[in-house]
């Protein structure tokens, strides 16, 4: 019933990149299958080839979702020289299994400790640096500026204003927040923000590290704030039936006015016909006053697998992707923010707003619930959040269940 995937993949890998074993090769595996990331990597690889004519580059493009399972196989069976992945706890299993190569030598020789300093904590595990970050993007509230202006709603900066804005929208028959929780992670974005604003960065990170019980009063405070929104009818009905892209529709049609999302949604909003006059962005409002403001900004990274064959070339590629001018260019295509402090942020109102916001995030920068928490906790948590958003009365059951998972996962 079960194929031995490792063996199968080894064979496939041999066929696909075992062809010519010349001295200077570079095999890159990426999951950048969506249009913008695909274009960005095409340009990136072309640029690298132009500067390194001696290196023959093979690029294997994987489907975005499929990559998440295939990476485990190709890292063990027949590793490429470079693979992309995510920072934080998402890379922990591979670091622990010894499948990624530490690259602090590269950070030293290329001066990355300075230029990529902001991402250093999320790249470090056990005192080693495990890859090079090349992009990140802000999360926050994307909203229908025109609807807000029509109804005379000012951009909310604190929790009361936020609830008030929602109440005004509901009066006019507009659902305040659209969301599609079919694939769960969107609900985690909402949880992350309410928790960061209610209890602060340090508490949030301690919670995702498993140091705090889910039944803690402070978690309940977060959930109580969330429940205010649920009870007031802030979220669209039947959100569990929609994927996040499907949930864009109500906002594009003007039936909903806000979306707690990452900046990658902007491209889709624009494609769906919203102009920059209609679409706006604001920082998630303050809940507990006085807490240092923390934001959510997931970082995407490239790594050298421990079993790579051409590590010299891989290091050249990592050095290339870390460079200021290269990060400027790749992020302009991606519509995201460069990590390198010498890079320029593309001329786009969402990117400049996001950059401004993240530069002032004194509290800290969280990766995302499923990158900060270990996989199993993340899955149980996100399922709990989805259930809570539909059945808030089950809160106690949900928290008990999460606590049970926590005690097993972090033992």
């Amino acid at each position: 019933m079960k194929l031995n995937f490792k063996q199968l993949l080894a064979v496939l890998a041999l066929i696909s990149f075992g062809g010519s074993m010349s001295a200077s090769e570079l095999v890159i595996n990426t999951d950048t299958s969506d249009p913008a990331p695909k274009k960005a990597f095409e340009d990136l690889i072309e640029g690298f080839k132009a500067e390194n004519p001696g290196i023959e580059v093979t690029w294997n493009l994987f489907d975005h979702e499929g990559y998440k399972t295939s990476i485990r196989n190709f890292l063990t069976a027949d590793a490429p020289d470079v693979a992309n992945w995510y920072a934080g706890n998402r890379m922990l299993p591979y670091v622990n299994a010894g499948l990624f190569e530490p690259v602090e030598d590269l950070w030293e020789s290329e001066g990355l400790n300075e230029s990529l300093k902001s991402a250093l904590p999320s790249m470090t595990i056990d005192g080693h640096i495990w890859g090079v970050p090349y992009t990140y993007y802000q999360w926050g509230v994307y909203y229908r500026k025109d609807i807000f202006e029509d109804l005379g709603i000012a951009v909310p900066t604190n929790w009361d204003e936020f609830k008030q804005a929602g109440a005004t929208l509901i009066d006019k028959g507009i659902t305040p927040i659209t969301i599609g929780t079919k694939y769960l992670w969107t609900a985690a974005g909402v949880f992350d923000y309410i928790n960061l604003r209610t209890n602060g960065y340090d508490f949030h990170m301690a919670l995702t590290r498993g140091e705090i019980p889910w039944t803690d009063e402070r978690v309940r405070a977060t959930m109580a704030n969330w429940q205010e929104l649920v009870d007031a009818g802030f979220f669209i009905e039947n959100h569990a039936a929609y994927a996040w892209q499907e949930a864009l529709a109500p906002m594009v049609n003007g039936e909903a006015a806000m979306y707690v999302m990452g900046n990658f949604s902007v491209a889709l909003f624009r494609e769906a016909g919203l102009t920059d006059d209609q679409l706006g962005f604001f920082q998630f409002p303050t809940i507990t006053a006085g807490i240092p403001v923390a934001e959510e900004a997931p970082t995407d990274t490239v790594h050298i697998p421990a079993n790579a064959k051409n590590k010299e070339n891989a290091r050249k590629f990592l050095a290339y992707i870390a460079r200021a001018d290269v990060q400027t260019q790749i992020n302009a295509t991606l519509g995201q923010l460069p990590i390198n402090s010498g890079s320029e942020v593309a001329d786009d109102k969402f990117l400049t707003a996001g950059f401004e916001m993240l530069s002032n995030a004194d509290g800290g920068i969280a990766q995302f619930f499923d990158r900060d928490a270990p996989a199993e906790m993340a899955e149980a948590g996100m399922q709990g959040f989805q259930e809570f958003m539909v059945k808030p009365e089950r809160l106690d059951d949900i928290l008990d269940r999460l606590e049970k998972v926590r005690q097993r996962v972090y033992q």
């Binding site: 079960k2 299994a97 009905e237 039936a241 259930e387 539909v390």
Partner: protein
């Protein structure tokens, strides 16, 4: 020609069977034992395996999600059998000679030909709470929309209905071939004895369709137990895991984005395997007994 004292006649069938047996051993029999073995370990598929004895099963016994999946599997098993009478009646209905009947038969068989993934997508759109055909119809008739796939009460039934569509077609084709073999003389004889309608069906036609019924039940039961693709496509086991079945739960624990607990996944697989083997052997035994007539 004789080899090892065996005649060509005894040897030949085994030689012809050998490739099949070999593949069956490697891809079916061996993995069963591998799964059982892995279920005693804690293993993420990458690092070292740690032997933990029955720990995975102990955890399984205290896992709400496991019982939800098990319950759903039972619902699947029972309701999926509806495909058999449905298939039989469509087959009876289509078993006539009118112009273009071949076309109608092919159209009825169509859902079985298209991929389960497509069936899942089509039904997801059908159930869509805002733009789906079902809810537009409900609204026209004055009812509220029902978000079938987002409501834990309906979700499993919604998926089963989607599954019944191709499964009914499958049973139908089995019965259609079966009906070709029905002896017209017996029908004639029945008619002379004044058998009509239901009586004719029950006492004359159905007994002759027994082989078709047998195959239908077997493929339907197996289809119900391995119901994975529709769950994966339509809901990913959601909302909050309420539409999971054992097959999907195993996949989720062992191979999905947040899973990679191979030992735990294997334990679920073993339980599923036991259910299948018990159910099927009981069924085969019953069939065998009926066949012998006591």
């Amino acid at each position: 020609m004789r080899l090892f004292g065996l005649s060509q006649r005894t040897l030949a069938p085994w030689l012809f069977l050998a490739p099949g047996v070999f593949v069956f051993l490697i891809y079916v029999i061996l993995p069963i034992f591998q799964s059982i073995n892995i279920s005693f370990y804690e293993w993420d598929g990458l690092g070292e395996r740690t032997y933990i004895g029955l720990q995975n099963y102990v955890e399984l016994a205290d896992d709400e999600a496991f019982y939800t999946s098990l319950k759903n599997n039972v619902i699947w098993l029972i309701l999926y059998l509806l495909a058999i009478p449905a298939g039989l009646f469509i087959a009876l209905f289509l078993n006539q000679n009118v112009w273009g009947i071949r076309l109608y038969k092919s159209l009825f068989f169509f859902p079985f030909v298209i991929s389960q993934v497509v069936v899942g997508l089509v039904f997801s759109w059908f159930y869509d709470p805002t733009n789906g055909l079902m809810n537009i119809l409900l609204n026209v008739l004055g009812f509220d929309s029902i978000p079938v796939l987002a409501d834990e009460r309906y979700v499993t039934y919604g998926i089963i209905v989607a599954g019944l569509w191709p499964q009914t077609a499958y049973c139908m084709i089995l019965y259609l071939t079966g009906l070709n073999a029905v002896n017209p003389e017996q029908i004639e004889a029945g008619r002379l004895d004044n058998a009509k309608g239901w009586k004719m069906l029950w006492y004359v036609v159905l007994p002759q369709l027994k082989p078709a019924t047998f195959i239908s039940i077997v493929v339907t039961v197996i289809g119900a137990l391995r119901s994975f693709d529709l769950v994966s496509i339509m809901t990913k086991g959601g909302p909050w895991g309420s539409s999971r079945v054992l097959g999907y739960y195993m996949y989720e624990k062992a191979f999905s984005e947040y899973g990679f607990r191979m030992g735990y996944g294997a334990a679920i697989a073993v339980v599923l395997f036991l259910i299948m083997i018990v159910y099927i052997s009981y069924f085969l035994y019953k069939m065998y007994r009926d066949e012998k007539g006591y």
